[in-house]
């Protein structure tokens, strides 16, 4: 198979496409993650932190040009708990970030207003009381504000506390994330498959074209072979005709020299004449076939 594909570049492409499909799936998963975290400017580090918080449902969205950390309570479940939000701002890795000077504030949203809970330069921690009375519609929110910077860059954040894991019929962030991930993953696989199928179709068409060309080549080869065969046949018939013609000439000479009597002469001349006509007809047919081949 490999050997054959090595000989057939189209087949090689097809095999490569099939092998690349899982890679395309994996890439699509990364794409899904990026889709979920697309609005988060802290990258995967945040997600890593969040993944360790099994019972937390968090969404992170930019709001008003500032980073808002938002978590929603599980629908239909009573959660009374105190959570601790810990935010670590991005270390000074880039000059642009380093220029974000000034005070930072963490604010929490209780469902009706923002509450400033703490201020710090690089790392901030605050306790948030979560009840089921609040945030069904708006959710619980927290945000980091720097008055001098339009966007605050967070290196990582974590929520901790004793709160209940949501029930299975509750759509959590991670459900949404997982659904989205699976959905996008499937889309990715589908796109990969579609890509592969498209390539396969193109490839098959090329193979068919190639086979068609092969068929054409075969036909051409057959035509050339027939042409050569015709040439030989024409030459053969021509030789035979020349032979008959020479025999006719010789017979006439014999007749003129009275080496054959008239009846023999007539019989043989009639036979030669028949042979000559037959061969001439044969020759004409062969030449006609050759002419038609040249025209084609």
């Amino acid at each position: 198979m490999v050997f054959r594909s090595y000989r057939n570049p189209h087949l090689s492409i097809l095999i490569c496409c099939i092998l690349l499909m899982p890679v395309a799936g994996a890439l699509s998963e990364q794409l899904a993650l990026r889709q979920v975290n697309g609005d988060v400017q802290c990258g995967n580090t945040c997600i890593t932190s969040l993944k360790h918080q099994d019972n937390v449902t968090v969404a992170i969205t930019p709001t008003d040009g500032r980073l808002t950390i938002q978590w929603e309570d599980p629908v239909g479940n009573v959660i009374v708990n105190t959570l601790q939000l810990h935010i670590v701002l991005s270390p000074c890795k880039r000059p642009a970030v380093c220029t974000q000077t000034g005070s930072y504030r963490i604010q929490t949203w209780d469902g009706s207003q923002w509450h400033t809970v703490t201020t710090s330069a690089q790392s901030m921690t605050t306790n948030i009381t979560v009840t089921d009375d609040l945030g069904l519609d708006n959710g619980y929110k927290a945000r980091v504000i720097n008055e001098n910077a339009p966007v605050v860059t967070i290196d990582k954040f974590a929520l901790s506390g004793d709160f209940r894991r949501p029930t299975k019929d509750t759509e959590t962030f991670w459900d949404v994330y997982e659904n989205n991930r699976v959905f996008i993953h499937r889309i990715g696989i589908g796109m990969g498959a579609l890509f592969g199928i498209t390539l396969a179709i193109i490839l098959l068409r090329k193979i068919r074209l190639s086979r068609s060309q092969d068929t054409g080549n075969t036909q051409l080869s057959n035509t050339l072979q027939r042409h050569a065969q015709l040439k030989d046949e024409i030459e053969s018939v021509r030789r035979e005709l020349n032979s008959v013609e020479k025999a006719r000439q010789d017979l006439q000479k014999q007749y003129y020299r009275r080496e054959v009597d008239e009846n023999t002469f007539k019989d043989m001349m009639q036979k030669y004449e028949q042979d000559r006509k037959k061969l001439q007809h044969q020759l004409e047919e062969l030449r006609e076939e050759m002419r038609s081949m040249v025209v084609e």
């Binding site: 006719r248 000439q249 006439q252 000479k253 007749y255 003129y256 020299r257 009275r258 002469f265 007539k266 001349m269 009639q270 004449e273």
Partner: protein, 225 residues
């Protein structure tokens, strides 16, 4: 054998080589063949050779055609018989077949009026038709040929071989009386369809072969075998 014999050229290219140089002087030569074998052309070419080339006196007796018809026919080969007549090198004599008994007399008159070396009678077969029986035919021919021999001319007479006949003449008479027989044949299976055979020629070592010939723009021409 041929050294002491005087001959005249036939005027047929290629023929003289087959008959040791030409027709023997004072002989009666018969050209025979079926219809369409070019007997008349042969005779006209023989006359043209004598009159136009050799400046000899010639007599052309026709029992089949008119003088004008002959003039017209030979003109296609470039032979101007009318001019030869004016130069008194040729005399064309029309003798109807039914005037067979006056033929010899008319020939004698003509020969007395001019010096003739060559004579053509085309054809004796037509005179034979007017005769009553085979004996009369033989008698007529014998008398005619005797007269011609006395005159010392080279005579060329034509005889018509009927279709499907294997003989040399219609009544099988003249071939025994003439000195030479040239048979013209038509062989449709051959590439060159006309040919001639010298069947007999006294005092001549002639070719025994069949010789194809063609009629071109200058008359009969024999082809090499």
């Amino acid at each position: 054998m041929t050294d002491s014999i005087q001959r005249i050229p036939s005027g047929i290219p290629g023929l003289d080589d087959l008959i040791s140089g030409g027709f023997v002087n004072g002989t009666i030569n018969m050209v025979t063949g079926k219809t369409g074998t070019a007997k008349s052309t042969f005779c006209a070419q023989f006359i043209n050779e004598g009159a136009a080339q050799q400046q000899e006196g010639t007599l052309y007796i026709t029992s089949e055609e008119t003088r004008l018809s002959i003039l017209r026919q030979v003109n296609q080969f470039g032979w101007d018989f009318a001019s030869l007549e004016q130069q008194e090198l040729l005399q064309i004599l029309e003798v109807p077949p039914f005037e067979v008994k006056s033929v010899i007399g008319k020939i004698s008159e003509a020969l007395e009026s001019m010096q003739v070396n060559r004579l053509v009678i085309d054809s004796v077969s037509m005179f034979e038709v007017s005769l009553e029986d085979r004996h009369s035919i033989r008698k007529f021919l014998f008398t005619l040929f005797q007269r011609l021999r006395e005159l010392g001319v080279v005579a060329l007479i034509t005889s018509e071989i009927p279709e499907r006949s294997e003989g040399l003449s219609p009544y099988g008479a003249e071939e025994f009386m003439v000195d030479a027989i040239i048979k013209l044949q038509y062989q449709e299976l051959a590439d060159i369809q006309r040919n001639l055979v010298v069947r007999k020629m006294r005092m001549t070592d002639h070719s025994p072969n069949i010789h194809p010939f063609e009629i071109g723009s200058t008359g009969i021409q024999l082809k090499q075998i």
